[in-house]
Amino acid sequence: MSVVSVEDVSKTFGAGHTAVTAVDHVSLSVDAGDIVLVMGPSGSGKTTLLSMIGTLMSPTTGRILISGQDTSTLKAAQLSRLRLREFGFVFQTFNLLSALTAEENVMMPLITAGVPRKHARGKARVALEQLQLGHRLRNLPRDLSGGEKQRVAIARSLANDPRLILADEPTANLDAKTGQDVTLLLCETACRENRAVIIVSHDQRLRTAAKRVITIEDGRLTAEERGEHDRHCRMHPGAGSS
């Protein structure tokens, strides 16, 4: 069964002559272990599509199934639980909680899911160490570099062992090298653990990590190619050393 099934989904903002169709009859299926790179010009509807897959926004028409479950039948609280268990989010602006340390930011989804504090702390530590942030556990976001922040966000997105990670332009606020390294790290981790990833990015170099590359224009899915994905999840010789 697909992790995500997007079935003929459209999203229209506004009404009448000011209506904007941001996503226009898109169908897409993502399986476990898929690494999907979504490309397309600004304003083409990538974020809107990602938001709908992430159940943060409901489609105007069409349906989205998550592990076979039609999300339109779920109530707000059920959607929250679904997001907590099934999804990891990585944002362009990192979106870490400013009052929490790196470690605590990663603990947040675990604690929300009811994992005891001590256990959550242990898991967060391991995750951060794997992302080469073992020396940054007690730092607040304001004391971290952009790349470090995004790695904390990646650790947070992976905390609850999600089946699908949604990343919207994770490299946009980082310099090219850092952005690429961090994203490849995400892909590599997800790949090794057989998680699906959907990454929206303009960065052509990410093709080396992707299994599939999808192009969206004017809200429509216009092309799908195979990426240059390595079966052994070796994506970047320098990954993790940044």
């Binding site: 974020t47 943060l56 707000a76 609280a77 909680l97 400013s98 009052a99 989804p109 929300t112 947070r156």
Partner: protein
């Protein structure tokens, strides 16, 4: 999620200081006035409790010592001793008098210290003579100290000059204090020939006190009031004066506390709207999010309570040394209800941003 609430609070130190300070002020206000009320109530009861009597017999319609004058002819004593079950009946008289001393009005409630009947003695004499002789008076030490009236000094009491011969304790009640003169001196001050104010009766062992009271009240001229009830009637005076003040201060305290907590929690929620959106996106439910906000408000309120209660205790301990009127008693029960009010206040205040919280759109977090 308490840890997030605490972290959020600590992150915004100024705001935390404002809300804790606001709550502390409210708690200090409410607790001090409640403590004064309790302290004064007890104080009034204190002396009356030491007077040996099962029942206070009053002129019908009189219920206390200060507000409803009671005058009874001494002949009532024969009637009382004749009532079945009465062991003793003793006259008790006293009167409030005022005199000027060093430009200040001093109010005494002069009681006839009737050594013959063994009634009307001070609760405790702490300095000087235990029993006044003719032309002498025992006053409360608090008045002696605060008004600088020393043992051996003379004071004008209702047209007579009496020499202070001792200090008693436990008879100081706000605007006046108990003082004790011989029966003869008191009679000339009271000017009630052939009469007294109350009779104190004791009931024979093994007799039903209620039955004795009903037999006494068969006489329409008198009322029989149990000791406890008489203490309560007298302390009610304090309650009646105080309750409205306490209520007003309680309302002011609650208004200040709620405004401060409400505003700080509201602005904090608005400032953190984006972070709350992130939490929503990663799967924190509205209910959990609301819990974080309530925990934030309640934590600030509890800190404010601890600070306020600590200040109230410190103030009541220290102020009593300088201002004799500052008699406070802070009971656990009062600390508990003030705590309950504080927590309730915090919970209600955090309802303010609920609507705002529910409206945060998690999809917004994808927008840069």
């Amino acid at each position: 999620m308490l840890f997030l609430a605490v972290k959020n609070l600590v992150q915004e130190k100024t705001r935390l200081l404002i809300s804790v300070g606001g709550v502390a002020f409210s708690v200090l206000l409410i607790m001090s006035i409640q403590g004064l009320y309790q302290g004064w109530s007890n104080k009034i009861g204190e002396y009356i409790r030491t007077v040996p009597a099962d029942y206070w017999i009053t002129q019908t319609g009189a219920t206390d010592m200060f507000h409803t004058p009671s005058v009874l002819p001494l002949t009532v004593r024969d009637f009382l001793t004749g009532v079945e079950g009465v062991a003793s009946a003793k006259p008790f008289s006293g009167r409030r008098v005022a005199f000027a001393h060093n430009g200040k009005d001093i109010n005494l409630y002069v009681i006839a210290d009737d050594t013959e009947n063994n009634v009307g003695a001070p609760a405790r004499v702490v300095e000087g003579k235990a029993v006044p002789d003719k032309g002498e008076i025992i006053i409360d030490r608090v008045v002696g100290r605060s008004e600088n009236i020393r043992i051996g000094d003379t004071i004008p009491v209702a047209g007579r000059t009496l020499k202070v011969s001792g200090y008693s304790e436990g008879g100081y009640i706000l605007s006046f204090s108990f003082a004790f003169a011989t029966k003869e001196d008191a009679e000339s001050i009271l000017q009630l020939p052939g009469a007294t104010n109350f009779f104190l009766i004791t009931v024979k062992d093994g007799t039903n006190a209620n039955d004795v009271a009903s037999r006494i009240e068969a006489d329409p001229a008198v009322d029989a009031i149990t000791k406890d009830m008489f203490v309560e009637n007298n302390t009610n005076i304090v309650r009646d004066t105080f309750l409205p003040i306490i209520l007003v201060l309680l309302l002011i305290g609650i208004a200040v506390g709620m405004t401060v907590i409400g505003l700080t929690i509201f602005t904090s929620t608005i400032e953190k709207a984006r972070e709350y959106g992130v939490l929503k996106a990663i799967g924190v439910s509205n209910r959990q999010l609301y819990t974080v906000v309530v925990e934030q408000a309640v934590t600030a309120a509890v800190l404010g309570y601890l600070l306020g209660a600590g200040l109230a205790l410190a103030v009541s301990a220290a102020a009593g040394n300088y201002v004799p009127e500052f008699i406070t008693e802070i009971r656990w029960l009062d600390a508990a209800w003030i705590f309950a009010v504080t927590v309730t206040m915090a919970v209600v205040s955090s309802l303010l941003p609920v609507h705002r919280l529910a409206r945060i759109d998690p999809a917004e977090v994808f927008r840069a």
